[in-house]
């Protein structure tokens, strides 16, 4: 499993703290990364390293190397959900063979941008429910409280409408008719929807949804998912960043 990459407190591949020095037949990598997905379980890692300091986005290269390479170590980060899908990853004089570069030297940002777009689309899809659960909440929660039923019905309208949007987005993307910044809109809407879904799952679950590790609660699946969902609108660019992108690139608002 290849690990993804990250640097800084939020996801900021633009300023990789890693340095990759050209040592003739290999790159010598030094530095550290944070929010590396599954680094402790990965066999290989895609890593953005700075190979030149001439410009901000230029000068970054995209390397691929074995996690067993001497000098690579990981430290899992425990999240509020109780799981550790991310790590801090340390690189101490790691030697990477010269040919293990993706794309051209100093052009790694192009590869990263492409992957980021994919990540946003993937995260946006979360609004539709994951792991085979249904798009709508009513059929699985069967709310008896009339006020909760009303909120869940309002959510289900939004979830089904977003499902239609996802279909339309996919068709437009395929046909080349989608605005290049539209994944930002999908990411924003999808992740906000998924957070709302989890809030309503907690409300519908009542005190059952508070149990953290019981068999009855399937190991606290509902509260763990609820807590994990809070990261959706942070990872891959926060909701606020996505709104900035929509305001600037789609709406062309001044000074955005």
């Amino acid at each position: 499993m290849p690990g993804l990459f990250g640097a800084g407190r939020r996801f900021r591949p633009r300023r990789p703290s890693n340095q990759g020095r050209d040592k003739g037949d290999h790159w010598l990598v030094n530095g550290q990364k944070v929010w590396t997905s599954y680094a402790d379980k990965s066999d290989w890692i895609f890593c953005l390293v700075r190979t030149s300091t001439e410009s901000k986005q230029g000068g970054i290269s995209f390397l691929l190397f074995d996690m067993a390479t001497p000098g690579v170590s990981t430290k899992p980060i425990l999240l509020i959900s109780g799981s550790s899908p991310f790590c801090e990853t340390f690189f101490d004089d790691v030697k990477v063979p010269k040919e293990q570069i993706i794309g051209e030297v100093n052009k790694g940002w192009d590869v990263a941008k492409y992957l980021l777009g994919h990540e946003r689309e993937m995260i946006a899809g979360m609004g539709l429910g994951t792991g085979g659960s249904s798009v709508t909440l009513g059929p699985i929660t069967k709310p008896s409280d009339p006020l909760l039923r009303a909120e869940i019905a309002a959510f289900d309208v939004d979830a089904l409408a977003f499902a239609a949007m996802s279909e339309r987005f996919a068709a437009m993307w395929k046909a080349g008719e989608a605005h290049p910044a539209s994944p930002s809109m999908m990411k924003y809407a999808g992740t906000e929807l998924n957070k709302r879904r989890n809030e309503l799952m907690m409300a519908a679950g009542g005190s059952d949804a508070l149990e953290w590790d019981s068999e009855h609660s399937k190991g606290g699946a509902t509260p763990r998912s609820w807590l994990r969902s809070k990261g959706n609108s942070i990872e891959g660019g926060t909701s606020e960043i996505q709104l900035n992108i929509v305001a600037k690139h789609i709406l062309r608002l001044p000074g955005a």
Binding site: G138, V157, L160, A161, A164, A247, P254
Partner: protein, 376 residues
């Protein structure tokens, strides 16, 4: 979901240029409103709709129509919404046309709709909230026909309609779908009082009183006691259409608002530079896109006769009304003081949204339908 075909794109372009040109706020809505016109729309414009073939979109080719569906109607309605064009298109050419489809009344009324001479209306609501299964207006058998007693309200274009498709109860009791019968009631029927009202958006809707209105048996649309089928067909087409028109209303006011954000200077800066407004504008854009997707999904499912069409029609109507409401609130607020003036158009969008949001069931009605159709 499939994207628009080339033919649909052509229809969209035709409707867009026709309505921007002839159906503009200045030429139509403000004009008819300011002269206090009786019908609330221009009959000449309705004839132009006919000349372009638009009144026949939902009428089968066998009757001289275009034989298209909810998707094409939605394309026209989005443009109607964008321009706030007053016309009987939704009630006549979409809802009522669907109600009489496949019946003898189609032969009688489709020619007038195709030529832009006839206006048809739909009388369903009997209280201030949409509840079609609660139809109570009594239709009693008498000799070979029926005699009707009761009242209707919110009959859009009721005052100008030549024929009103009326839901009445021939059996069962209020709340039951069985036992409802649809009747074609001519505007001059003895015992029918049509009291036309001006609504908040300057459109017209009537309160009807039926006092021993005698109808022949051939006034029945479809089956006696089986009116729910043509009625729900008409209501689904009407709701999907209203959703599309709401998408147009939301889009029209949002375009105006964005233009204003790009032009208006305050405190030495363009107000569109303020992040507090940028984020709200971006959120509104996202919601508009989602509402449009839901409206087209519902229309496409109606056209393909899909089992989930009814569910998606309610999703579309609820979502479009909610989003259009957000769009008009943000529109007036972001325009500031000018948005509160009658001179500015943003208030007109707010008024239209209020009427369309209510028509064929409001947000709460359709959320409840989504819950019922999803089994909770």
């Amino acid at each position: 979901m499939s994207l628009l075909t080339d033919d649909q794109k052509m229809l969209q372009e035709t409707a867009a240029s026709f309505l921007a040109e002839e159906g503009s706020i200045a030429k139509q809505l403000r004009h008819w409103r300011d002269i206090k016109c009786k019908d609330g729309f221009g009959h000449d414009l309705w004839k132009q709709f006919a000349e372009l073939g638009l009144t026949g979109i939902c009428i089968p080719e066998s009757h001289g129509g275009m034989g298209m569906g909810a998707t094409e109607a939605a394309l026209v309605l989005e443009e109607i919404g964008r321009n706030l064009t007053p016309s009987p298109f939704l009630t006549t050419a979409v809802a009522a046309a669907r109600a009489i489809e496949g019946t003898a009344h189609a032969d009688r009324w489709y020619p007038g709709v195709l030529s832009g001479e006839a206006v048809l209306a739909l009388a369903v609501d009997e209280g201030p909230r949409h509840a079609p299964e609660c139809t109570a207006l009594e239709a009693k058998r008498q000799g070979n026909g029926f005699v009707l007693n009761g009242a209707k309200q919110f009959v859009v274009q009721g005052g100008s309609a030549d024929m009103i498709v009326t839901a009445a109860r021939t059996a069962g009791s209020s709340g039951e779908r069985d036992g409802i019968t649809l009747f074609a009631v001519a505007k001059d029927a003895a015992g029918l009082t049509v009291d036309s009202q001006t609504l908040v958006d300057s459109s017209k809707a009537a309160r009807l009183t039926f006092e021993n209105v005698e109808l022949d048996a051939d006034a029945v649309i479809g089956e006696v006691d089986g009116g729910w089928q043509p009625l729900s067909r008409a209501l689904a087409a009407g709701s999907a259409g209203a959703a599309a028109e709401l998408v147009g209303v939301a889009s029209g006011i949002s375009t105006m608002t964005l233009d204003y954000l790009r032009q208006r200077k305050q405190f030495g800066r363009l107000i569109g530079e303020f992040q507090a407004l940028q984020h709200r504008a971006a959120h509104l854009y996202s919601e508009n896109e989602i509402a449009r997707a839901a409206a087209f999904k519902a229309a496409q499912l109606l056209d393909s006769g899909d089992d989930t069409a009814e569910l998606y029609v309610s999703v579309a109507k609820a979502k479009a009304a909610e989003v259009a409401n957000l769009a008009v609130r943000e529109g007036v607020q972001m325009h500031g003081g000018i948005g509160m003036t009658d001179e500015h158009d943003s208030g007109l969008f707010m008024k239209r949204e209020a009427v369309l949001g209510e028509l064929f069931g409001d947000v709460y009605y359709h959320r409840n339908r989504v819950a019922e159709l999803s089994g909770y």
